[in-house]
């Protein structure tokens, strides 16, 4: 599988994820400058965390118009995989590849912590490395990670099982006190209706190297590789 990591001015998690993909998982990975539009050789586009364009106007608002993101829309429309982490999630909602928006945290704090969350379903490549209902712990680090959408959108997300990760307490209960930022329905990560576009505020790439003391994020990448490799074989 070949990965393309979009690099915006102000991105700061691009090399973290490239390290996991290249050095931990041994996958070919290309850094894609935001002014490049060619993604034809890439299987999975990663929109990394950080502060693209300084978070000016709104987080992710300006990044959506870059040539690389315009090509990412075409990539997603072909049914290929796109994942947005943190600021990448904000970019994907701003451009409409995912519904809703990420707004200021409920308590105004920038939250930098390790947070438990449940894996809501595991029948997609993104989460097939986990058990359904499994409680994992991933780092979060954001000031604008409160997931918001209107009632109809939330209902449609839940009805179509598009919530993949949900903040919870140590026992897997999605309570208000276990919600770090005020996200509606404790939403930490969602996919689009087709399931090929993932957006999540937590950072799996910061929990994928044993040297960092937590590898709960590694199963996401390993499951993704297995899922895409097996579907590629079926297609061939």
């Amino acid at each position: 599988m070949k990965f393309g990591v979009i690099v915006f001015p102000g991105a700061n998690c691009d090399r973290d994820i490239a390290y996991i993909l290249r050095d931990i998982l041994g996958q070919p990975t290309r850094m894609v400058w935001h002014e490049d539009s060619d993604l034809s050789d890439v299987d999975v586009v990663v929109v990394p965390g950080g502060f693209s364009y300084g978070d000016y106007l709104r987080c992710g608002a300006i990044a959506q118009f870059s040539p690389a993101m315009r090509s990412t829309v075409a990539h997603a429309k072909q049914g290929k995989q796109v994942m947005g982490i943190c600021n990448g999630f904000q970019v994907l909602t701003e451009m409409g590849l995912l519904p809703g928006a990420l707004v200021r945290n409920r308590d105004l704090h920038f939250v930098c912590d390790r947070i438990p969350m449940t894996v809501e379903r595991n029948d997609l490549p993104w989460t097939q490395g986990y058990q359904q209902g499994q409680v994992i712990t991933l780092p979060i680090a954001h000031g604008e990670g409160c997931y918001f959408a209107d009632d109809d959108t939330i209902k449609s997300l839940e009805d179509n099982n598009q919530v993949l990760f949900r903040y919870c307490d140590a026992n897997g209960k999605a309570s208000d006190t276990a919600n770090p930022n005020g996200s509606l329905n404790n939403i930490a990560g969602i996919c689009n209706r087709a399931g090929n576009v993932l957006g999540m505020m937590p950072h799996p790439e910061r929990a994928a190297d044993a040297a960092l003391g937590n590898t709960d994020g590694l199963a996401l990448f390993k499951g993704l590789l297995e899922g895409l490799t097996s579907s590629a074989k079926v297609a061939a």
Partner: protein, 93 residues
């Protein structure tokens, strides 16, 4: 965009506000600060953005139409925000 020589200059004021259904924790924090200052008659504060845009257009209608697009596409996020535009013809200096 191609415009004729008699295109006029306009100054636009764009007000972007959070939709009523979206919580505004920053506004709540400011209200709490005002309360600490003794302004306990202030019941609500909502914080938005004010953006000035200078542009040229064939007419005020054309300017408004373009600014609507600019707001829908970039200046406001319709999921969480509303916007209001005021347009004034720029006075020639």
């Amino acid at each position: 965009m191609a415009q004729s020589a008699d295109a006029k200059a306009y100054n636009a004021k764009v007000y972007v506000t959070l939709r009523p259904s979206v919580l505004d924790p920053a506004g709540t924090a400011v209200r709490s600060g005002l309360s600490h200052m003794g302004y306990d008659n202030v019941s609500k504060v909502r914080i938005g953005k004010y953006i000035e845009v200078e542009l040229t257009a064939e007419s005020e209608v054309a300017a408004k139409s373009q600014l609507d697009k600019i707001c829908d596409q970039l200046l406001a996020n319709p999921v969480i925000e509303n916007y209001r535009i005021e347009i004034l013809e720029a006075v020639a200096v």
